[in-house]
Symmetry: C2
Subunit: 348 residues, 2 copies
């Protein structure tokens, strides 16, 4: 419905596997000094000297993680990169290389895969990473994208999920819940489109939340900012499944409890107005929505002065002794246990 369906179409079988790989990867140049050999051998060769290496991988499946009726393929390629890069930044590391594997059915023409790769290429360029390998194969039905991202950092700078201490401040970047609400708007428009394909959706009031869903960004800037501010978080994670679930990961891995203040959770005005329209509770959306790709981290109290004035950061609570549990302090000042309502892909 958003995509132009009248495009030229070249069947994939015309190129064959090697032809397709050559065609898709010919524009991927090597920019990182650490990439010794990129695409085109049995494996890529990297050289990081005395830095530590971080590695993460994520798989996106059509019909589970994305719906091509409103997700343009270029955006999908971009988002698939963001999902992985975000995990590298959540280790307080620099992303340097990625490998990209796709399985694609014959219903996709070459031009569709080119659109997907152009999104991957745009993200690689913007986030300054080399695409150094991958695999391109056919699938019997849908589209599957599997990306592995590699990054580096000095060993003293790595931030795990497990370092939070009691009394540490809990901090989040940006604002929350927008990506989930963007999805709700797109799902609603899809239903309208099914009934009346001539209907042109008016999405003017939803530009921010739809962009957060279709073209999210990873917080590369935060890793640099924290370094400039000389703040090393005690623990960090990226928000892919929803704030509540991520806080519980930090608490579990760090063996601490926490208090999260409902009135501190950062929300964009468009999130608030759209929640009212959809009759949704904005706190629930922020806690369980997911796909925001913001960073959630803890810092020791003494670092508070370094971060308090920065508009990128919101202190939303603090860590406590494990025995106190993980609690949300509501606007009415009652304490209720946090629940992990992160997206469970096996029930959807």
């Amino acid at each position: 419905m958003i995509e132009d369906k009248n495009q030229s179409k070249t069947p994939l079988s015309e190129l064959g596997e090697f032809g397709l790989i050559d065609h898709l990867t010919k524009d991927f140049s090597i920019k990182k000094k650490s990439t010794v050999k990129g695409i085109g051998d049995d494996a890529a060769v990297l050289d990081f000297k005395d830095e530590q290496i971080v590695v993460t991988t994520d798989m996106l499946v059509e019909g589970v993680h994305f719906d091509l009726s409103y997700m343009p393929l270029k955006h999908l390629g971009y988002k698939a990169m963001i999902v992985n890069l975000s995990d590298i930044y959540a280790m307080n590391a620099k992303a340097t290389q990625v490998t990209v594997s796709i399985a694609v059915s014959n219903r996709f023409p070459l031009e569709a895969i080119e659109a997907l790769y152009s999104g991957i290429k745009t993200a690689a360029s913007l986030y300054d990473v080399d695409v150094v390998g991958g695999d391109t194969t056919s699938s019997t039905t849908g589209l599957i994208i599997s990306i592995t991202a590699i990054g580096t950092t000095k060993s003293k700078d790595v931030v795990y999920r497990s370092g939070a201490k009691s009394n540490d401040l809990l901090v989040v970047t940006g604002d929350l819940g927008a990506a989930y609400l963007g999805l709700q708007v797109l799902e609603r428009e899809k239903e309208v489109f099914k009934v009346n394909p001539q209907n042109q959706p008016d999405l003017e009031n939803y530009t921010y939340i739809i962009e957060r869903q279709l073209k999210p960004e990873a917080r590369k800037d935060i890793v640099k900012l924290l370094n400039d501010l000389e703040v090393k978080p005690t623990s960090m994670i990226d928000i892919s499944d929803g704030l509540s679930s991520e806080i519980m990961h930090l608490c579990k891995e760090s063996q601490v409890g926490c208090e999260l203040y409902e009135d501190k959770i950062p929300l964009d005005p468009q999130v608030i107005s759209t929640c009212e329209e959809f009759n949704l509770d904005s706190t629930t959306v922020a806690l369980s929505g997911g796909e925001d790709y913001e960073l959630l981290f803890t810092v020791s109290q003494e670092d508070y002065t370094k971060i308090k004035a920065n508009p990128n950061f919101t202190v939303i609570g603090f860590m406590k002794d494990k025995s106190t549990g993980m609690n949300l302090i509501t606007r009415a000042e009652t304490s209720i246990p946090l629940k992990a309502q992160g997206w469970n892909s096996f029930n959807n």
Copy 2:
């Protein structure tokens, strides 16, 4: 038909995504010194000091790369590892870590995924690599496995596809064509089974070729052997798509031609007898069959004495000037151009 279908079955939705990941990964321990942090954070952390790092990735898709009606899930997990490890060894490197991502539909119970992971674990243990991360998600239909393998080597030891010189000897390990023929036998038995499900297949005459299809091995031993013999190949590739296609990759990347001698191609007696039974030409099977996961490499003439007596190696031809092309010298001593008939996944 080979698998026992009467097993206990736990639906995946009972565990949820995090429960499933915890359950499947709890037995993966860290053994490599270079693994600083494995499963359980946003990314794994690796430390290789001053070694170069090699990275490769491969994706296996149900209905394209495997058929679960004769591929037991444990073997599938094992083979998915082998496919990737083989690429690391083809760089003359040591495999050290892997990440494993799977997408699986609700039709698979927990026990099926456990069987898959037990094969992965067996391979990780046998090939001495750490499983350091991955992703577990649902799919709308089949099973997809995406593995990324990481290895290390000294920079002086890396062997690319591009280093072959005119007059270098072309050498292959093991024997060829067996995996493809094993698949033909299994496909035939599947057809028999469809007609008569009570029929018990007699596979006694096909044990070697079926094992080569269902439980291939990667030639880790060859990397060590070459090192012990003080032979550094000038170029190397693993045989996943068929001898012909791989030779052409080496020639293309190295800018050379070659002569391959039909009578030198190593074939197991079971390959020869099964080719007769199926009325297939054994040379065609070796050239185009694929999935042997043997190593194909070139060495300079002066290294011939170091390898000639070793039963692991067969010299099958030599490299020539690019202008002479890539040719097969038949048993009748005629020269015919090599064709890449490697498996094209978009036509199958």
